[in-house]
Symmetry: C2
Subunit: 131 residues, 2 copies
């Protein structure tokens, strides 16, 4: 396999609620939305929402609502940009996990959760440009 | 924010074990590896490994080892390609969650877990080209 995550899919208990959140953050739906699946076209890896119940039926393992250690970062070019993303997340109904702060590794980042508890970081990284 | 996941970070209990797995799949390390953090350059969203303990210290929430409903897909252009990725994953020490099968949505996909339980799908999607 080549080094690529093609699509990141987030299990959700309420796909309408989750879709409202991601649209509020600016993600644009690709194709048709249905009650079990919504796909968002994105720069780089695409993002999708999928029914947790269907995941359990498909894979035979049930998603938990807890933090699994997966964090999606959205990188921006400045500290002010991080503050702006945190405000966007708050306005979209995200739960602020940790307000933006000077990280130990020399960056500036904050954490928020989507309605299902999936964790995002808004980050400024002065060493590696992932914007 | 623009529609982009810049970096996907996977919490790990054993960063060396996880790094061996991702290198075996062909991911190439960016910069220096250290005992708490490894970053892989990838097409689209980058991938990183990070100490679960540090996540807990940073965010105040402890990662669980359970399936959170996050699935990373690696898309390929054919069913045979899916079978090949599944074999690569098996050879790399991945746990096969579900062997590749004809999905209800008209594709062909299998599921495997990395050493920390993070779920990947190897997928052929005849409707949307994410390869």
């Amino acid at each position: 396999m080549k080094s690529k995550i093609s699509l990141l899919t987030l299990g959700t208990e309420d796909i309408k609620r989750a879709a409202v959140f991601y649209k509020a953050l600016g993600f644009v739906v690709h194709g048709e939305e249905d009650e079990d699946h919504v796909m968002f076209k994105a720069e780089g890896t695409w993002l999708a929402l999928y029914s947790k119940n269907l995941y359990e039926k498909e894979m035979g393992i049930a998603p938990t609502g807890e933090f699994s250690g997966v964090v999606m970062a959205h990188n921006v070019g400045s500290k002010e940009g991080v503050d702006e993303v945190m405000e966007e997340a708050r306005a979209a109904g995200g739960k602020i996990v940790k307000e933006a702060y000077e990280t130990y590794w020399g960056g500036y980042a904050g954490y928020f959760q989507d309605p299902d508890g999936h964790v995002w970081s808004a980050a400024w990284n002065p060493f590696t440009d992932l914007t």
